[in-house]
Amino acid sequence: MVNSNLFPSIEATGGESSTESRRKKPRISETEAEIEARRINEESLKRWKTNRVQQIYASKLVEALRRVRQRSTNEPDKVVSVAAREIRETADRVLAASAKGTTRWSRAILASRVRAKLKKHKKAAKKSAGNCKSRKAAATETNRIKLPAVDRKLKFLGRLVPGCRKVSVPNLLDEATDYIAALEMQVRAMEALAELLTAAAPRTTLTGP
């Protein structure tokens, strides 16, 4: 069964690798594990592109937004920025939930909410946290050897992707790939939702005073 699954994918995607290996000097030959890994990667990227996934995400997002709306009706005086932040966090959480826990960044997003709530309760421990930060800052100041450009950028990328600061380089690249695909889907879904709302809503609410 494995063979039958492998061969069509090899002909489709491995065809280019075989021609490449013949054109150039012989490279490291592909093993079954690598072919599998490539297929898995492509499949995992495609899972964010299907319409079905988008629909699921959109419907979940609508539900979540409605819940947020209900919760925030208790406090009517909210600045748009705060509301926007809430909505963004909701959207991220829904996105992470639809990732079904296979990726590191999704787990980090889902865990961050719990961590934020814990931090609220632990305000007494602020002093120790402050000391830690100052110690870290001092250490980096003294050990300031400028890393090569590529490493600096990799670190920066690790900070952008949630939960991937101390992750190895190949894993970081994997996470970044999945995260980018997920973000693209999120943007598409939110755009569609916004368009839907602007089309459905009466125009008078937009043209303000």
Binding site: N3, L6, I10, R22, K25, P26, R27, I28, S29, T31, E32, A33, E34, R38, L45, N51, Q54, Q55, A58, S59, R66, R69, V80, A83, A84, R85, E86, I87, R88, A91, D92, V150, K153, F156, L160, V161, V169, P170, L173, A176, T177, I180, A181, L183, E184, V187, R188, M190, E191, A192, L193, A194, E195, L196, L197, A200, A201, R203, L206, G208
Partner: protein, 344 residues
């Protein structure tokens, strides 16, 4: 009779280099000498002659494989190179042959080799026809790490002491070996060492790691628009970081937009259905430029905002080939409008 065969060989070898021809002729001469020796010595001449004639009449590749096998006597894991003989690799092979021809061979060794080669003969013929499948099946059998192979073969090669110039020949053959060997007894993945590159354990491990990373960068390159134009890891990483930041900014902006529209969410509850979403998704082509441009006129335009938009709009419509640059300008302009428009 042998001269006739030799001429046959020379005709078939017209496409190859002179070094190969010389090499083959030398091999044939060796075989002639051997044949004479053999016919004098034993009564098994018909068998040997048969083998030698088979050896003659066989294809170029097998001859060369035979000559290679002379150097690969070394032991358990090695056999003739079955992957030699792909068309475009002939040049590489010629180089190999010229290198191996520098090693000297005793007639005794050749005799041993020929005898051994005779037994292995049917394998080259059968394998040549199913090379690809062989490679695939072999690859499927090999499941362990690449590095172990090289270490093991190194140790096995260094442990033997059969032939003259063993170390020199082993090094050259190792470097010139492009191949995956026979179906090994152990489950190892064989690495194709590049010509002239080090084959020690550390550099192999590093090379494997680098290949992994570059492969993943290629995936990212496919997904991030505008990454094809930049070469080198640093540039690509720049583009990737830029793209991720853009996407995150877009999400923030859209969430702000939805925050404004949220009161309408309850009003539009009945309209929100799966089918409508589907319609919107198909309309929204991969890039979000068009949809954002549609929304822009709906925003309350202040004087400053409108000027910005009118300046940037034509640029957005025309610039399709510079997505990375337009992401920036687009999102900045939209932030301008949002900050101006939402000040209630």
């Amino acid at each position: 009779m042998l001269e006739g065969l030799v001429s046959q060989e020379s005709l078939s070898l017209n496409s190859m280099d002179m070094s190969v021809l010389e090499r083959l002729k030398w091999v044939q001469q060796q075989q002639q000498q051997l044949q004479q020796v053999v016919s004098q010595s034993s009564n098994n001449s018909p068998e040997l002659l048969h083998q030698i004639l088979q050896f003659h009449g066989s294809n170029n590749d097998e001859l060369l494989q035979g000559s290679f096998s002379q150097f690969q006597m070394i032991g358990s894991g090695f056999g003739p190179n079955y992957n030699m003989g792909y068309g475009p690799q002939h040049e590489a092979m010629d180089g190999c042959i010229s290198r191996t021809s520098s090693c000297q061979m005793e007639p005794v060794d050749t005799m041993e080799v020929l005898l051994k080669n005779g037994t292995k003969e049917d394998r080259p013929i059968s394998l040549k026809n199913k090379r690809k499948q062989e490679v695939k099946t072999r690859e499927e059998e090999n499941t362990e790490k690449k590095i172990k192979v090289e270490a093991d073969t190194e140790s096995s090669m260094k442990g033997k002491s059969n032939m003259r110039n063993r170390e020199a020949s082993s090094e050259t053959s190792k470097e010139t070996l492009k191949g995956v060997s026979e179906i090994p007894k152990l489950d190892y993945i064989h690495v194709r060492a590049r010509r002239g590159q080090a084959t020690d354990r550390h550099s192999l491990a590093e090379r494997a790691r680098r290949e992994k990373i570059s492969k993943k960068m290629k995936y990212l390159q496919d997904i991030v628009p505008g990454c094809n134009k930049v070469t080198g890891k640093a540039g690509m990483l720049d583009e990737i970081i830029n793209y991720v930041q853009c996407l995150q900014r877009q999400v923030e902006f859209l969430s702000m937009k939805l925050a404004v529209l949220n009161p309408d969410l309850e009003l539009a509850v009945e309209d929100v259905s799966v089918k409508q979403f589907q319609a919107y998704f198909t309309n929204v082509v991969g890039s979000s430029k068009h949809s954002i441009m549609v929304d822009v006129p709906l925003f309350p335009l202040d004087h400053q905002g409108s000027l910005d938009l009118s300046a940037i709009n034509p640029n957005q419509t025309t610039s399709i080939e510079a997505p990375s640059a337009s992401w920036e300008s687009q999102s900045q302009s939209l932030y301008n409008t949002s900050s101006l428009g939402f000040q209630y």
